[in-house]
């Protein structure tokens, strides 16, 4: 298992869980603002792009950023145009989706590690 491919899954899973916990506790803090910012700018995209097992960190970050913003925008537009405004639900979709992608990456990395 290459270290470069092993880190995104667990890290993203931790961040997604932390975002969920802070949202449930609903206590404003600088740490929460930073956490949510990093998650929304990189998290949802990393959940998908991490599955590509890119070796190049520039490409990984660029694609994660691009896809994250696209997914954030899509979810937010669905909320304002279609389903009705519910930011909690929107965040939940992004967190659950990211956690799912992160779990898949972690599972795949551990299998590759076991095989290797």
């Amino acid at each position: 298992m290459r270290l470069a491919n092993a880190w995104p899954g667990p890290v993203l899973l931790g961040v997604a869980l932390a975002v969920a916990v802070t949202a449930l506790l609903d206590e404003p803090s600088t740490g929460r603002t930073l956490l949510v910012s990093v998650f929304l700018l990189l998290g949802p995209g990393l959940a998908v792009v991490g599955l590509l097992e890119l070796e190049d960190p520039w490409a990984l970050l660029a694609l994660a950023f691009g896809l994250s913003v696209a997914l954030d925008t899509a979810v937010a537009l669905v909320l304002v145009y279609i389903t009705g405004w519910s930011p909690g639900a929107g965040l939940a979709v992004l967190v659950v989706g990211s956690a799912g992608g992160a779990l898949a990456q972690t599972f795949r990395a551990s299998r590759a590690g076991g095989a290797g």
């Binding site: 975002v19 802070t22 949202a23 609903d26 206590e27 404003p28 929460r32 603002t33 949510v36 910012s37 929304l40 700018l41 995209g45 998908v48 792009v49 590509l52 097992e53 890119l54 070796e55 190049d56 960190p57 520039w58 490409a59 990984l60 970050l61 660029a62 694609l63 950023f65 691009g66 896809l67 913003v69 696209a70 997914l71 954030d72 925008t73 899509a74 979810v75 937010a76 537009l77 909320l79 304002v80 145009y81 009705g84 405004w85 930011p87 909690g88 929107g90 965040l91």
Partner: protein, 741 residues
């Protein structure tokens, strides 16, 4: 086993095993040592004059036939002894040895060797035979380093560490220096006039560190410097700000807050609500972070954006191949040249990032013309372009489809979020397809359909209300240039200096980029994709002036390619010798840095708001009844961040004055007409602040008069009642019986 032995085994165990595996039967190892490869030729492209392999720590084995070098992931260097044209050993830092080899393909430099090992290797390689090598290690299955092997590496690693530590040290000094700067000290030329000497010293240290890192081929360290530079330059206002800076940030916060509270889009409010993607996402982020409003994101937003621009920018620079130093130097030049200030909390900032991501994907994985149609223009041009090799990048199976979907998602996300960026992206993509720099003909087609669909279905409200104006502006290049350039040169002497510095900086950068492109073409390097990226945005002014800002946007959209072309020119001038290379980079950085501090923060005086003026404005939002009209002399104040659609905001920029100007009573009457323009009979408030007075000083007084004169006129008028008077802000309420008394 000591910790040192464990560390050595961890770092050099895999390379030693790789070398052992690589040995031929009967091949004898004569010398085993370690060093740091600086420059190589074995993994580069044969077309490039300067090619590089990845620098890094390697184990080296001199055998009776060849020189082997291995990194952690296997053997990467294999030189037959007879292949070396010249070999020289010299003293490096603190007694370490440096080995310089001349090969048919170029130069190879290994440093951090023990001095004696460097001389032994040089002698063996110069003679083409191992000669009297000191030790014969035989043909072992397991190789072990002797105790002195690491002696030369320590000084090299210490120098690396010192170079690396200089960056955070400079950052600490920079922010400590800025802590002492007060808003009132920022004058007509902006932040640069208020910087203490220690801040300049910090920037010089950063410049020197980067130049040193690049000259010594520490490309990873150079990238660390780029990151630190982003934090330093784009976070410069954070220690100075009393509240969030820049009035448009406040307005964008108000739009996001409206969406967060109302939850639906009303396209009739204004143009922003016809492209609400960014603001809906910002509203979602505001709620997710549990903050009162989006101003919580504003301070570090430029830093975050510029950091996120780096990965796609690196991919774009790398897509043209060649000298590995091109990537960090392109990033460095981009950071030093992105003075247009479009990275604040805005749709432009975020979607410029997506613009870069789409182009990075296209040029990295879909560059070249292997599936393209024959171009219809300029056959000679076509022949020149078609000779470029295609981009090389590894992807897993199915990866190309996946990254294409990511690019498509990013492109489509721009469409509902920003008026201009989709057109800019479309222009660049069409140009890339037309000149066969990509074979993705479907991507611009899909983007064009999406833009059209959005305009027709979602932005129809804006389109129907402005179609005549948009049609009239189409193709009016002269008028566009006048509003973008000519009308901006004015105001105080300091401000005029800033504007001229901006024009000069843009012009020089473009000329240098042109020279860089010419040099690359003469050298037979991949160039045309960069030329397309740099040139295509210049088509935007033909479409419309974009509120007098289109030239700034052209500069922004063209900057990635311009930076890469300038970096290319600088590397050509720098050569590969460390002293010359470092000097060129240092001098270039000084020029760009001096320019950046003036051009980027030249207007800081009006965009920095004091806590008191923000609280004065906020108080109006607390008391104003729904439908109230808020009037300010200009837009340079912290407003529109609350009750965005509930209150009406007007400024006096369009107020026409009679030929002799207004008297004070006439001015008060004219302002009253602005308040009562549509006969709504609503409450009216006039707000002046420290920043609106600074706007006067910087840009010159408006046609209707100055803010000071306006304040006197309102004080003297029975139609206005002063309700708040502070040093940094004043508010008058239009008398309820105005016009009726």
């Amino acid at each position: 086993m000591t910790y040192a032995s464990r560390a050595v085994a961890l770092v050099f165990g895999p390379p030693l095993r790789a070398i052992a595996d690589w040995l031929a039967p009967g091949e004898r190892v004569l010398l085993l040592t370690v060093g740091r490869q600086r420059r190589g030729v074995l993994e580069g492209r044969s077309r490039e004059r300067t090619t590089w392999s990845r620098p890094g720590l390697r184990a080296f084995a001199l055998t009776d036939r060849r020189l082997l070098g291995a990194r952690r992931n296997g053997v990467r260097l294999e030189l037959p002894l007879s292949a070396v044209r010249a070999a020289r050993a010299r003293r490096g830092a603190l007694g370490s040895g440096v080995l310089e080899l001349g090969l048919p393909q170029g130069a190879l430099v290994v440093e951090g060797l023990p001095g004696a090992d460097a001389e032994t290797l040089a002698a063996a390689l110069a003679q083409g035979s191992p000669g009297d090598s000191p030790t014969d290690l035989g043909s072992p299955t397991a190789l072990h380093l002797h105790r002195g092997s690491l002696a030369g590496l320590a000084p090299v690693l210490l120098a690396d560490l010192a170079t690396l530590l200089l960056a955070p040290a400079a950052l600490v000094i920079w922010f400590a220096a800025l802590q002492g700067v007060r808003i009132g000290e920022v004058g007509d030329v902006g932040l640069v006039g208020a910087l203490p000497l220690s801040a300049i010293v910090a920037l010089l240290a950063l410049t020197a560190g980067f130049a040193l890192a690049l000259a010594r081929d520490r490309l990873g360290v150079a990238v660390v410097y780029v990151v630190v530079l982003v934090v330093a330059l784009y976070g410069a206002l954070v220690p100075i700000e009393e509240v969030s800076s820049f009035n448009v940030t406040w307005r964008h916060t108000g739009i996001a807050q409206y969406l967060a509270q109302v939850g639906t889009v009303d396209p009739d409010i204004d143009a922003y609500f016809n492209w609400p993607g960014f603001f809906a996402a910002l509203a979602l982020a505001t709620k997710a972070a549990g903050v009162r409003d989006a101003l919580a994101f504003a301070a570090w937003w430029p830093v975050a954006m510029n950091l996120l621009y780096l990965p796609p920018l690196a991919m774009i620079a790398r897509s043209v191949g060649g000298d590995a130093r091109l990537v960090p130097l392109t990033l460095w030049i981009f950071v030093l040249s992105n003075w247009v200030g479009q990275d604040y909390l805005s749709p432009q900032a975020l979607h410029f990032g997506l613009f870069l991501v789409v182009l990075a994907v296209v040029l990295t994985w879909f560059g070249g013309s292997e599936r393209g149609a024959r171009p219809r223009v300029a056959r000679r041009l076509r022949a020149a372009i078609a000779s470029e090799p295609g981009a090389v990048a590894r992807l897993p199976r199915g990866g190309r489809a996946a990254v294409l979907l990511v690019a498509l998602a990013a492109a489509l996300a721009i469409v509902p979020s920003h008026q201009l960026t989709p057109f800019s992206l479309l222009l660049v993509l069409v140009a890339l397809v037309a000149l066969r720099r990509t074979w993705l003909r479907g991507l611009p087609l899909i983007l064009a359909v999406a833009i059209f669909a959005w305009l027709v279905f979602a932005a129809v409200s804006y389109l129907s209300g402005n179609i005549d104006e948009l049609r009239a502006q189409f193709g009016q290049l002269e008028q566009t240039l006048a509003s973008n350039v000519g009308e901006r040169v004015g105001g105080s002497a300091g401000h005029a200096l800033v504007v001229r510095a901006r024009l000069l900086a843009a012009g020089l950068l473009w000329i240098a980029a042109l020279a860089g492109a010419a040099h690359r073409l003469r050298s037979g390097r991949r160039t045309w994709s960069l030329v397309v990226l740099a040139a295509a945005p210049f088509g935007l002014p033909l479409v419309q002036p974009y509120g007098g800002e289109i030239v700034l946007r052209v500069y922004l959209f063209a900057l990635p390619a311009m930076a890469a072309l300038v970096a290319s020119l600088a590397l050509a001038a720098a050569g590969t010798r460390p002293l010359r290379s470092g000097s060129v980079v240092f001098a270039l950085t000084l020029a760009l840095l001096g320019s950046f501090l003036v051009t980027r923060y030249g207007n800081a005086r009006i965009w920095l708001f004091s806590r008191e003026e923000a609280s004065v404005v906020d108080r109006v939002y607390d008391v104003a009844a729904p439908g109230s009209i808020l009037v300010a002399p200009s837009t340079a104040l912290p407003w529109q961040h609350r009750r965005y659609a509930e209150l009406k905001h007007r400024n006096l920029s369009q107020l026409e004055a009679p030929p002799g100007g207004f008297g004070e009573r006439a001015l008060a009457r004219a302002v009253l007409q602005v308040v009562d323009d549509k006969g709504e009979g609503a409450d009216g408030y006039v707000i002046t602040t420290r920043s609106t007075r600074a706007y006067d000083a910087l840009f010159g007084r408006a046609r209707w008069g100055s803010v000071v004169r306006l304040e006197r006129a309102l004080d003297a008028s029975p139609s206005f009642l002063p309700i708040i008077t502070r040093r940094d802000g004043r508010v008058w309420m239009a008398a309820p019986d105005r016009g009726r008394g």
